[in-house]
């Protein structure tokens, strides 16, 4: 089901949670909506679900205007951040709730509950159907919430930060499972998260929001590699920001009007007396600290009175260095107020 929103505005008091959101969520795709807290992503999800009525704008599902329809008439299911599993009901009763409201025959309810539990791979846990939510782990609760949502065979699945209550290891595993489930079922899915890594890894389409607006959308690789906006560039990845411009020889020099952004993984640290490679943008700096992050070491380098991050396979010793970044990896947002794509410095 294709979902289209146009000109969505929602204010809570004087605060605009949505300030004119227009976007099309493609049918059968998993769209991740990412942005900082308060950017309006959960409000957008709740407007799609029908729990919040927009002050302005319309919502279309498969070309049908559903703006004024209640949640139950939209053929969508929402998985809540806290899962919202009813604690007094068993797993079976939770998953069967929506089916029973549809007055399906008992045998069909049982069959569809089992199918839903199998889809989230809970069918292998003995006696899971009779357990109450408090008797389940966080990961199991998350899967029951998913099973409850897909049991009613929605055409639109909405997920509101579904992994935020899980520890890192379980989060990674469940993320892969959600992706696989979405591919298997082909349900149009909108996945809201504030975790950029989660969004990048899970999405077919990435939507970045800020201040109640969609600032950029596209394939995750595209948005990451070619941010159109300094906010997107800063928000995605470990991004350094310098008020500087690039000289003729590639040297980074302070500039009040200049704004250069580059990511920590693109930085190369060279000895202080080394010549920067051709085609790179560079500056002299001083390593002030270095942390081991597991997969890489992150060095903190003071450049132009600003501390920037540089990721490396080996630890960097404190002291003077030359910091070099391939010119095509530097995003130049000089003289720009958030409009248009970054200019490559090469």
């Amino acid at each position: 089901m294709e979902v289209r929103v146009e000109g969505l505005v929602k204010r809570f008091g004087r605060v605009p949670a949505l300030a004119g959101v227009s976007h099309t969520f493609p049918a059968g795709a998993l769209t991740a909506v990412v942005g900082p807290s308060g950017c309006g992503k959960t409000t957008l999800l709740r407007v799609l679900a029908g729990f919040v009525r927009p002050d302005e704008g319309r919502v279309w599902m498969d070309g049908r205007d559903v703006t004024d329809l209640p949640p139950q008439a939209r053929s969508c299911a929402l998985v809540f951040q806290n899962y919202a599993l009813w604690p007094h009901m068993t797993v079976f009763e939770n998953v069967a709730f929506g089916l029973r409201l549809r007055r399906l025959p008992t045998r069909e309810v049982e069959q569809r509950v089992r199918e839903a539990l199998a889809l989230v791979e809970l069918d292998r846990v003995p006696g899971i159907e009779g357990r109450r939510p408090r008797e389940l782990s966080g990961g199991q609760q998350q899967r029951v919430a998913l099973a409850r949502a897909i049991a009613v065979r929605p055409r639109l699945l909405l997920l509101d930060e579904p992994l935020s209550n899980l520890d890192a290891k379980v989060r990674h595993r469940v993320r892969v499972e959600i992706r696989a489930l979405q591919r298997r079922t082909g349900i149009t899915t909108v996945y809201v998260t504030h975790d950029q890594e989660e969004a990048l890894s899970i999405a077919d389409v990435l939507v970045v929001m800020e201040g109640g607006r969609v600032v950029q959308w596209g394939r995750p690789e595209e948005v990451y590699a070619r941010p159109k906006d300094p906010f997107v560039a800063e928000f995605l990845g470990s991004t350094n920001v310098l008020e500087a411009s690039v000289g003729r020889d590639g040297a980074i020099q302070p500039s009040r009007d200049g704004r250069l952004l580059f990511r920590a993984e693109d930085v190369v640290l060279l000895p202080a007396d080394a010549t920067p490679p051709a085609g790179s943008v560079w500056a002299k700096g001083k390593v002030v600290d270095c942390l081991f992050l597991g997969a890489v070491y992150r060095a903190y380098v003071r450049v132009l009175d600003v501390v920037v991050m540089a990721d490396a396979r080996s630890p960097a010793s404190p002291g003077p260095v030359v910091l070099a970044v391939p010119a095509d990896r530097v995003m130049d947002f000089s003289h720009q107020n958030g409009e248009g794509a970054a200019k490559e410095t090469a």
């Binding site: 679900a49 029908g50 729990f51 209640p70 949640p71 139950q72 969508c76 299911a77 929402l78 809540f80 951040q81 806290n82 919202a84 009813w86 604690p87 007094h88 709730f97 929506g98 409201l101 549809r102 409850r148 009613v152």
Partner: protein, 270 residues
Amino acid sequence: MSRWERWAWGLATVPAVGVLVAAFGLPLLQSVGASFVREGRFTWENYAIVYRLYRQDVLYTLGVAAGGVALTFGCGIPLAGYLRLRAWPWVEFLLKVPLFVPFVVTGHAMRVFLQPSGTLAAMLTAAGILPPGARLGIGEGWLGLVLALTWKHLALVVLLLVGAFRGVDDSYLEAAQGFGAGTFRQIWAVLVPMSATSVALALVLTLTSMLASFSIPLLMSRGSGPQMLMIDLYYRFGQHGDFEVASALGVVSYVMASGAVYAYLRSVTR
């Protein structure tokens, strides 16, 4: 916690425990003891008198209290549910009004309203539902008492239930609503079970309060037929000076209220 702190905290509880023992524990023990004594000897005779003279009143009291609780919760749960799901400040304010009306005033008002030729009868006559001069019997019987006790207790019950229902996170209700649950289903399938402890507590408080109601039944009673047990107790003690049988009636009241408390404790510890 150090030993000194334990002693200090122990000492701090002494006044409260002292008041509890002096004002409740000792009189309770005294009345239980007195209920088994007549003319200085141990006997079951007081209970035999209670059985012979008051067994109908015990059943009547239980029936009125049960009916009152059923009506109060039958009205209170939907009202509290609606107030939780849709904020109606004026309705909420109006529902709290009976909290500030004393029992005696409630009894008098309900007597005036429900008596055979009272306000309700006049309204029904004016509306053509009752023929002119007909008498309305509600106020004199158990139904009038149930209505009066419900009116008085509804505000407290709604207050307790709305508070409990507001403790249920919106997401649980929205999850149900998203699947197509209407208001009634959200109240009965989500709000009530998720607030079961508070509902049980409100139920016990209401039942014990209705079992012990005195001024409303006294003002509404017609002086014949079955009476609420507290009125019997008052007359037995105040009019007849029969402390022993009054004590036995008191013990029967304790047992009735204890049954509700036991059921509540079972429900919250299960």
